[in-house]
C-alpha cells in the first residue's frame, strides 16, 4: 500500500470486500484497533458479520442479534480479517482470503445446501 494517509472511517469502514477470486464477500462492517502495552495502538483487523453491524445501530440490537445468531449456530462470532491480508484499499478492499473457506459464507452455504438445492431448478 502507498504512503497516502488513509481515513479509516471514510476510506475503509463500509467498503466492499472482495476475496482473492474477485468474489464479493461482505463489507467492512467494523474495524478493530489493538491497544498494546509495548507500542502505539495499531489497526489489527477488519470485522465482517451481522452482529457487528447490528451493534452499530444500537448496542442492544447488537446483543439481540448475537444471541439470535448463537441460537441458530451461524455467524455468532464476527469474522476477523488481519490487516496484513489486505491487498489494496480503494472503493473495493481486496483481501487475500478465499471467501468460500471462511465463516462469512456459512449462512450462504447452509441455505444453498438445505434450501435452494431442494427447490427444483435451484442447482442446475
Amino acid at each position: 500500500m502507498d504512503e497516502e494517509p488513509l481515513d479509516l472511517i471514510k476510506d475503509v469502514l463500509d467498503n466492499q470486500l472482495v476475496d482473492l477470486h474477485g468474489r464479493r464477500m461482505g463489507k467492512a462492517d467494523g474495524i478493530i484497533i489493538e491497544l498494546r502495552k509495548d507500542g502505539p495502538p495499531r489497526v489489527a483487523y477488519i470485522e465482517v458479520g451481522g452482529p457487528t453491524l447490528a451493534a452499530r445501530l444500537h448496542p442492544r440490537i447488537g446483543k439481540w442479534a448475537t444471541s439470535l445468531a448463537k441460537r441458530f449456530g451461524v455467524g455468532a462470532e464476527a469474522y476477523r480479517i488481519p490487516w496484513s491480508k489486505l491487498k489494496s484499499v480503494g472503493i473495493d478492499i481486496v483481501v487475500l482470503v478465499d471467501a468460500e473457506k471462511t465463516p462469512v459464507l456459512a449462512f450462504e452455504q447452509w441455505l444453498r445446501e438445505h434450501v435452494v438445492s431442494r427447490i427444483p431448478g435451484g442447482k442446475t
Binding site: 470486500l17 464479493r24 463489507k27 465482517v48 434450501v115 435452494v116
Partner: protein, 405 residues
Amino acid sequence: MKKALSIALGILTSIGGFLDVGAIATAAQAGAAFGFQLIWALLLGTLCVIFLVEMSGRLAAVSGHTLADAVRERFGFRFYFLQYVIEIIVDFLVLGAEIGGVCIALQLVTGISFQWWALPVAFVLWLLLWKGTFGLIENGVALLGLVTLVFVVAVVMLKPDWPAVMSGALPSLSRHDTAHYLFIAVSIIGALVSPYLFFFYSSGAVEEKWDKSYIGPNRAIAVIGMGFGSVVSLGVLITSAIVLFPKGIQVESYDQAALALVAPLGFLGFVLFAVSLGITCFGAAMEVGLDQAFITAQAFGWNWSESQKPAKEARFSLIYTVMIFLSALLMVAGIDPLQLTLFTMALTATILPVVIVPFLVLMNDEKYVGKFRNGIISNTVVVLIIGLAFVLAVVAIPLEVLGGS
C-alpha cells in the same frame, strides 16, 4: 456493432422500466378527472427521471458500483439502513400493486376475480427469475412492451385538439377538487420517479460490466428510452381526457380506464388495454422483485447476480422468492389494486428526498465519478422537482386521506 445493439436494447428496456402500473393508473386518473390539465406533472416527472436514470448509469459506468453500494460506503451503515428499510417497505407495496395490475389484466380478459390470479402470477414471476437470466428478462419484457404503443395509435385516431393539449403543459391550479388535483399530480410524479428504477438500473449496468465508454450510450438510453415511455404515458392521459373526461367518468377501477381505448378501437381496444396493462406490470414486477434482492445483497456486500444459478447466490435468490410471495398476499387479501397503486405512488413522492439527496451528493463526489461530475443544470433540475414533489405530497396526502374517507 455490439454496442449499437446494447443501446437499442437499453432503450427498449427503459421503455419497459418507465411504464408500470403507476404510470398507467395515474395518467388515466389524471385524464379522466382533469382533462389535459395535469400534463405538466407528467412532463416534470419525465424530465426528472431522465436526469436521474442518466446519473445512475453514469455512477455505475464510472465507479463500477451501484447506487446502493455507494450510499452505504459514503454515508455509512446507519444512514443506509434507514434508506434500505424505507425502500423495502415501498418496494413491497409497489410489487403488490404491479402484481395487482397483472391480475386485473387477467380479470378483464377472463372475468375471474383478481384475487384468484395473485398466487399463479407470483409463481410465474418467480419461475422466470429463478430460471431466467438478466438478458432474457430485460429483452423479453422490452419487446413485448412495445404493444403499449397502442395508446399512441389511439391518440392519433381520436384527433385531439392540440392547442388544448399544449395548454396542459403549463402548470395551473384546478378550479375544483384542488386537494384531489394535487394528490393526482403527486402520484404522477411519484409513479414516474420511482426509486427502485435507479437502484435497478445501476445494478443492471454493473451486471453488464459497463465502463466509461458507456457514458455516451447511457445518455442516449436515458433520454430516448424515458422520453418514449413518457409519450406512451401521455397517450394514456390524452385518450382518457378525450374519452372519459367529457362523460364525467372517474376512473375508479381499471375497467373504466379500459373504456378509453374502447372508444377508438372497439373490442380490440379493450383486449389491447388488458394486454398492455398485463405486460408492463409483469415487467415492472420482475424489476421490483429483483430490486429487493439487489439492494439487500448490496446492503451487506453479498455476491449478487441474476444471471447465476440460484445455488450460487442462495441468499440473493431467496430474497426475491420471499418478497414476491409476500407482496402477492396483498392481492390475495383483496386489497383494491387501483387504490393501492395511487396510495403507493403518492407515498413514493414523500420518500424521494431520502433517496435522491444522497444520490446527488455522490454524483458530485470526485471519488466516485471523477471528472464526470454533475453539472449545475442537472443538480438544479433534480433538486427543484424533488423539492416540489415533496412539498406537494406533504400537503396533498393528508387532504386526500381526510377527504376520501
